[in-house]
Amino acid sequence: MVKKRVPDWLNSSLWSSAPSVDDDRLHRYTSEPAATTSSPEPVVQPPVPVPPPSATTAVVRTESPKSDTRDSRGNNNVTNDDNGTSSGPSAEDVSRQAQLLVELSKKIINLRELRKIASQGIPDGPGIRSTVWKLLLGYLPPDRGLWTSELAKKRSQYKHFKDELLMNPSEISRRSEKAKSYEHDETNKGPLSRSEISQEEHPLSLGKTSIWNQYFQDSEIIEQIDRDVKRTHPDMHFFSGDSSLAKSNQEALRNILIVFAKLNPGIRYVQGMNEILAPLFYVFRSDPDEDNAASAEADTFFCFVELLSGFRDHFCQQLDNSVVGIRATITKLSQLLKEHDEELWRHLEITTKVNPQFYAFRWITLLLTQEFNFADSLHIWDTILSDPEGPLETLLRICCSMLILIRRRLLAGDFTANLKLLQHYPPANISHLLYVANKLRKQPSI
């Protein structure tokens, strides 16, 4: 996973070009072997009818992100001090922020260096986390000179996906009718002729290829997405309520999840994906750079795809019993605990019979977004995204530390007390938690 930080498709010369590499992953994710997708990566190729000509000519605008203004600030403030061990956490934060700004202002950003600083936590300085996460997820290339064109390309690509995938079938028919009539008979200005509806395009057609059949299947998923998007962080005004901000943010989450579900027919939408999406969208949407904030939906989509590429096997029911599925990952956590704290492992799993699946399923599939308050989750994600061991290994070490940190209470508890405690993890000092997690790594720390 560490090596596979930046998947090929993200760097490939746009997704529209025909893929060449053969990847057996496709067959694991698509439910039917005879699926219409011919692409090696299900993520890339939309399984939709050929796009109408109008949609393919999406305008690629070159925007110049204002983030360049950070250069001067960063350079002035910092005199490359080695690490912020000086005085108190706030001074440390300031120093780390300065270090990050220096690193971000370089023409070619040193990712290794960036990881090292970011894994300690990213201070809530304006826009820093947003830029750093995009770099860590491989969405922004290390070469700053490429940012403008890369972002423009990706954002237009996402617009293209939305144009194709968020339309309902009658719009598709209408569009292709329109395109046809322009092609074949531009001079026809007479009375409107009734458009012929082919068998495939009739809403009551039961044919498997009917676009309406596909549409009705989709609508069930869309209902599920709607239901979950509405209950994403009900306690935060950013996501919930009747404000126009909340409404437009919900709309963005909804669009992303629908586009993702349609591009990944083998996984589609799994409950909880909204919770993984929320931190990414929140961070990108809150970027003080207006262009970035305005394009948060597109940026979030690609970063979500990238983040999930390391975890998506957990969402795939067919893989539940495989070595890459969620059960196997939970077993890894159990082994990690046994390795580091056998007494606690024994008490939990043998004495009180707390099956790790009872609590760790949510911890792992939702990347700890439900166990702490939102700000603390972001802090944990800084480490999950930046640790050179990779997101999954890092996540498991953090989960193991969560158990170790409350070991005394767990050792004193029975089944009921322990399960309640683990399903409602008590407020914790996150820096300390991450410190312990760091200590658990096999290799000497970075």
Binding site: R231, P234, Q317, F358, T365, Q370, F415, L419, Q423
Partner: protein
């Protein structure tokens, strides 16, 4: 005082049903006496306990709230095992949630493997009867009762977690039904004695009164 009467029985209850029918809401209404319009989707399973007394018998209900999405079903076995009662929930305003009940039923029998599937206690709750004063109702009470009759006269309750209608009654019935389940001592709870001399032997339909 009879010693056995003071021993607490631990009863494991599983809630199953489609996503969004109100499983979490019903449990929160009963256990914590509260209602919230927006509970997050349940991922995996949540766990709550509630102590109550059924005819001099102290009982701890251990209620498992499971995820409704189909994707999570294959993970069910770990949660279903050792259950004393299984409660199905559907939304009376959503036909599909009613039509899914049979597959939830089959899924439970397949994964939990109760010793005697015919005698195992099940219940059905039709929730959200408050919505739109019942005008948006899509499944009639008659249809629901027919389904219950076809499954060995399963007790049926119409509930509203939001308005706290019939929730307490349903849970009392759940506890009684679970008590009838003659399960062997569960491996999880060895510390809790189950040496109860007498167990309620009422039929499931009996609690509907």
């Amino acid at each position: 005082m009879d010693v056995s009467a003071t021993k607490r029985r631990l009863l494991k209850v599983i809630f199953l049903g489609d996503s969004g029918v109100g499983k979490t809401s019903l449990m929160n209404r009963y256990v914590y006496k509260k209602f919230n319009l927006q509970y997050k989707a349940t991922i995996g399973a949540d766990f709550m306990t509630k102590e109550l007394r059924i005819d001099d018998q102290l009982v701890t209900l251990q209620v498992w709230d499971t995820a409704g999405q189909e994707r999570f079903q294959s993970l069910g076995a770990a949660f279903y095992r050792g259950a004393d009662c299984c409660v199905f929930v559907y939304d009376v305003n959503v036909t599909k949630s009613f039509e899914s009940l049979s597959s939830w039923h089959e899924e439970f029998l397949k994964q939990a493997e109760p010793a005697d599937p015919k005698a195992f206690p099940f219940l059905l709750l039709g929730n959200k009867i408050d919505v739109d004063d019942g005008h948006s109702r899509a499944v009639s009470e008659k249809r629901a009762r027919q389904w219950c009759d076809s499954r060995g006269s399963m007790p049926y309750f119409e509930t509203s977690a939001k308005q706290d209608y019939n929730v307490n009654e349903a849970f009392i019935c759940i506890a009684k039904a679970a008590l009838t389940n003659e399960e062997e001592q569960e491996p999880y709870f060895e510390s809790i004695s189950e040496s109860v001399s007498e167990v309620e032997t009422r039929g499931g339909g009996g609690c509907a009164c």
